[in-house]
Symmetry: C4
């Protein structure tokens, strides 16, 4: 079996997208201008569609959270789901119709319309294109917004093409010119109309009710479709970076507050610097908030990954029991400290301890620096163990981040995990000696 | 009395919608082209409206949460509410005017305008159409979005028709052509104008101030209306599936988080698979959240329905007291377990028990599988009863869902309901023997 | 002093709005077509503006929460705030310019532009119109949405008028026609352009760079303005009833849930009926939620008003101490009961009592009805006093609403207010006798 | 080093913005009309770009929260970041191409296109403009919305200019006129097209496929861009004052509630007055809510600033320990009192004390005024200390604001800070004497 996310498979899908677009353009163009015969090019297209079906029988499937990998199951699943669309797309309807009724346009008006209706089955290929887009997004990891932008462009191009061919087919446009020029001018009319520009240099023939009715229909649906696409593309562009735009909106509110309360500009600058730092660290998404809605095992897994550095640096965690680490991880609260901020003030009552994860802090006793701690250091645990006031201040030297462990959670962990208790006792004893 | 949601009654309403549309089109068309006489077709229309009034007197009524079913009350309610509109709609105003003043357009300008004003009473039929739409939605269970889409289409078609007839009536358009061709070309002008295309092939006669003023008015109101319809249809299409689009927006945020924190791709995939599973289970609406705002009796009713399988499978609930079931149902919290997830870890402190509702789990003691449990099985209750550490691990084999019962709620139920207490003791005793 | 919300004052303001609009139209029209002389009509307009200033000196003022009522303060406040705008609006700039430089258009091009710039001071009258709109909204109690709609219409009409006059003034349009016809055709050009229709029957003269540049400017700003107005009007129309549209959106979500979970249709109908009832009662705004953000004294005031019926009907509250009523009011939680719902079930543990505010309930002991209670009745207090199980069921017969008083709050009130304690004991004793 | 926010530096940046715009306009205009030679004006432009690079080497840098001030680091950072763009912008590509291949348009079609592609490197100057905009916003403190508006205007003007030049270059437009007239008419065509007006007086030559294809492309992208700009500008204008529009939306909801519940108009007015007062005080942003998400040290700093008056007026805080002030500040809750509101009622149970921050209150015992308190006064502490009922009422005379300190927090502070305890005892003792 071919793995569903093999790069060759993705390449083939990209190729199929291109083949579908090309097929729709070339064959419909030929049909409208009565140039179509089931020639080599046509059969080449058809063979592509058949090859795709065959390949699908040998490719593993992933739909949402479901994976299908054994040949038998793949076949069963494929036949039950998208096989029908693929089969319809691979049917050489154009050739069959050509052999039965001759080229399009040589029939009477009613037969002609019937011919067109049967032909329109070929549009099922667009459904195929839609599902390939979805597949490519999943396997190539394109952002969904980008996929939707591409899809809109795809539909729009196909729609304008079909509207233009319709214009040619009802005899509008400049019939005296060569075929390709007629097509380009019909495209021009279609674009000018659905973009509501309406220069008026090409308009329906006032003596042809068919052309007028066709124009009315295109005006209503085409304009609707175009506005819809423009509105969607605008909102997609505006939200390309969801996180960034939410962050910006929030910053606007904070700015409004700072202006309204006439906070002095040096404080305003500190606030803005803080948000800039936060953005750089979190890209506007609060880790804790997102993790809350993941199932427990998944959020633990992600926390372990995010804190892999801390786990290695903090002596306490190195080689500790996995159960302990998993439980402790979920009790820690991330915090940001500003340059010069007092994380702990000497004399305060202590109700938490910290683990530094980035930056440097200064330990100060009676206004004299006694130590500097780097990433991985725990601090503030003495007061917790001895239930008293803080015996030293800890000041952040730069922007730094740390985890906060509340007193109650700390007590809970010591009670449950004897190794943790022992370790804490050792650390406190060690500090005292100094 | 005819039940208000009888399918024949719905059919009649659909027919009435069609009759109203047809009436507005045919009669106004005839009036403008001075073809109107109160002929058989006209009286057929009128008799439809009268038949509808008679039927309404014999149909039960449902407005919001109010039901009216006795003949007397129906009559009283109908006469007090929509009867007046129905009566105005059934009045043969066109015939009366025709007998009094002759066909439209044979009067002087002022009489003509007066004639038109009286005629416009017939537009009350649109109000009737609006209330039929509302009725159809309620009785056929159409999604409100679909109803609004249809309504917008209905208004738009009627508005374009009226704008086109107005254009003909003030003498604009190609007066030399047959009536129907004039009408089609007026429609063409109306569409081209309100869709802001403005080819310029049909414009008001520069020597006719009336036509110019008419065009100005249509430009302002018509364009406003068209933009409004397009904007609404766009947002309706975008939100056709409210739940899906909210889900997608949320997934975008989660993806942004995964990208920003550079979570490795195998973890990313597990997160996405989880959301895909969640979507399939819940369709993006958290049951618990919705139920919270329902009144208690209704949310209990719905919980009983949703958990009808669990209630049958879980031994504990089968044949239990209804009061117990209702109370227990509201204490359970739904949870999802991923393939391979440790629901319970041996050695942990236990603070809850579970009921499996779908999927399979493995019970593992000291890394050896000792049992497999399927939907309906309770597990994790031993540690709760004995207040100790978990004596086995429970691992989910596939995606599975279960209910979680917290320790405190568990104790509360055992205290209140002695049968539950007895059952739990029996289960624990049974496990120990094994 | 004239009270600021006297109806004659409001009428005068409406008149002023009309006078401003008329002035802008008539005088600018005359200026552009060189018809302006400071005639009687002109001085009548000016005297209106002067009269308004004089009236303002004798009218009390209300701005936000500030009221100014003594003559001296009114004069001081008025002179410091809107007097300057009113003074500029009353200045006969047109007459002064006419006496100094003759009619507009008889100067050289530079003097002409200077003339125009000085004239544009008259647009300050629009500011005056804006503040009159605001005043009218506050004193007439028009919904803000309606005011904004009117304001948009006002601006749009004035803007189109000015654009059209500009078009005439630069020599575009059909110069051969009578003045009014020229004006109408300029309006037609302006509307056709800013609504982006662009028929192309009137375009700038290709040999006049001034006309082309004027058109470019109008295209950019006019189209921007028109789109802005349309977008705002659309959103205003869509949100005319803020509460209703929020309610509808919420109902859509509930419907999506019901569909997704395939709730049987009779339960679905009950849910929808419930929301319909809720809407009728609350009009989509939860009283409790709104009151939370009011200051305490205001929310108490409003609760006393909303519950004036209950306070009269419930024996307990009649003639009770005001402090008790105010405190109790804020502890009650509003609840809705469905037809057939068990508010209390015999045998349940009771943790609250109720006061019925509307509808009827049935008291049932061992499946036998023992009493019916109407609005104003308290029930469920026995179990609270005796700390046991409910000794009767209470079933709602129709949709009914009641207040819920939780056990803890109940105990708190009994402890604080001895009269309440006495009353409760009496009621319980009375019931036992029966 | 030049400080990055020196006013001369800002002026230079403004000048550079103007230079870039001018360069893009003049040089591209000359290129298209084959008027370009590397003359003095051209080299003046180039020297501006070079001067800017040199200046950047001597200016300190601030990016988000990062400050770079030492010459070496500035150079390293600049070379690694925006130097490349600045270098490309300063390259005299136009001159090099002119010397190599002669003026644009004298080559064959393929060489011409190649020429254009190389020339388009000059558009990198737009990137430079973008980063100058960002810099100006940060150093001049422009609101982000205003910056985005200006940026949109900038892009739009440049885009229309380029579209117009493209139109001239492919030979469309009125080739017989002088160069500048051709350019103006091309601008006119570009604006008329992308604003979707499409008069149709200038259209592509129907015999020129190049012009038709160019028009199709402009129609699709130009219209998309224009709609995007209009939509964004509309939403920017609507949200220029984020806080105000959120406040207005909220007020609409409150009004809807008042209407729906038919609150009597004197109560409605009080509610509206309250919101008007609140708006004036807070400008729609709740201080407490914003501060919650700031890091502790920053929120304390801002609270100290905001309450600098209170800290001076309240006897208790004057000269108190900083640790105490910081801790107390975060326990206080801001409250608003309406005119006539009972802040404290005699006989109530007291569970908090207050500090008045603005306005005047009346202390009333048994309906007799005994004192008036102004900003800075604490009140309500007696009942807290003595655990009894309030022995006086306190009534707000006007709108006033105060801080509320809850009983539990009060006890906590007294326990921790002995000075506070002593002070409170003194105050209570002092009151008793009176």
């Amino acid at each position: 079996m071919i793995p569903h996310n093999h790069w060759l498979r993705s390449l083939w899908n990209l190729l199929m997208l291109f083949v579908i677009l090309l097929f729709l353009f070339i064959i419909s163009y030929r049909q409208v201008f009565s140039l179509f015969t089931p020639d080599a090019v046509y059969w080449l297209f058809v063979s592509f569609f058949i090859a795709d079906i065959i390949l699908n029988f040998f490719t593993t499937i992933k739909r949402g959270h479901i994976r299908i990998e054994t040949p038998l199951e793949v076949r069963r699943f494929y036949v039950r789901t998208s096989f029908f669309v693929d089969f319809l797309a691979a049917l050489p309807i154009e050739a069959i119709l050509f052999w039965m009724w001759g080229p399009l346009g040589t029939q009477g008006p009613i037969a002609s319309v019937l011919y067109l209706i049967v032909l329109s089955v070929t549009l099922v290929k667009l459904l195929k294109a839609g599902s390939i887009f979805k597949y490519l997004q999943e396997s190539l990891g394109i952002m969904p917004a980008a996929r939707r932008l591409l899809l809109f462009a795809y539909w729009l191009v196909v729609a304008i093409h079909i509207i233009a061919l319709g214009w040619v087919w009802i005899g509008a446009g400049e019939t005296g010119r060569p075929y390709f020029d007629q097509y380009i001018r019909a495209l021009y009319w279609a674009t000018t109309t659905i973009a509501t520009i309406g220069y008026g240099d090409y308009t329906p023939d006032h003596n042809s009710t068919v052309q007028i009715v066709y124009t009315i229909i295109i005006e209503l649906f085409g304009v609707g479709m175009f506005s819809y696409v423009i509105a969607n593309v605008s909102s997609l562009v505006a939200n390309l970076d969801v996180a960034k735009s939410a962050y910006r909106r929030h910053l606007d509110e904070v700015n409004a507050f700072l202006h309204a309360q006439r906070i002095p500009s040096h404080l305003q600058e500190r606030v803005r610097d803080y948000y800039s730092y936060l953005w750089e660290q979190q890209r506007g998404v609060s880790t804790m908030q997102v993790l809350q809605e993941f199932p427990r095992s998944l959020s633990q897994e992600i926390l372990l990954y995010l804190n892999r550095d801390v786990l290695e640096r903090v002596e306490l965690f190195r080689g500790a029991d996995e159960l302990f680490i998993r439980e402790a991880m979920q009790l820690l609260k991330s915090e940001v400290f500003l340059p010069g901020e007092y994380i702990i003030r000497q004399g305060e009552y202590g109700d938490c301890m910290y683990f530094l994860t980035s930056g440097t802090v200064q330990v100060v006793v009676n206004d004299k620096e006694v130590a500097r701690l780097g990433p991985g250091s725990p601090f503030g645990e003495t007061a917790l163990v001895e239930q008293g006031r803080r015996n030293a201040s800890v000041i952040s030297l730069d922007y730094s981040t740390g985890y906060r462990l509340a007193k109650s959670d700390f007590e809970g962990l010591r009670q449950k995990y004897s190794e943790f208790d022992a370790h804490i006792k050792k650390v406190v004893a060690g500090r005292k000696k100094k």
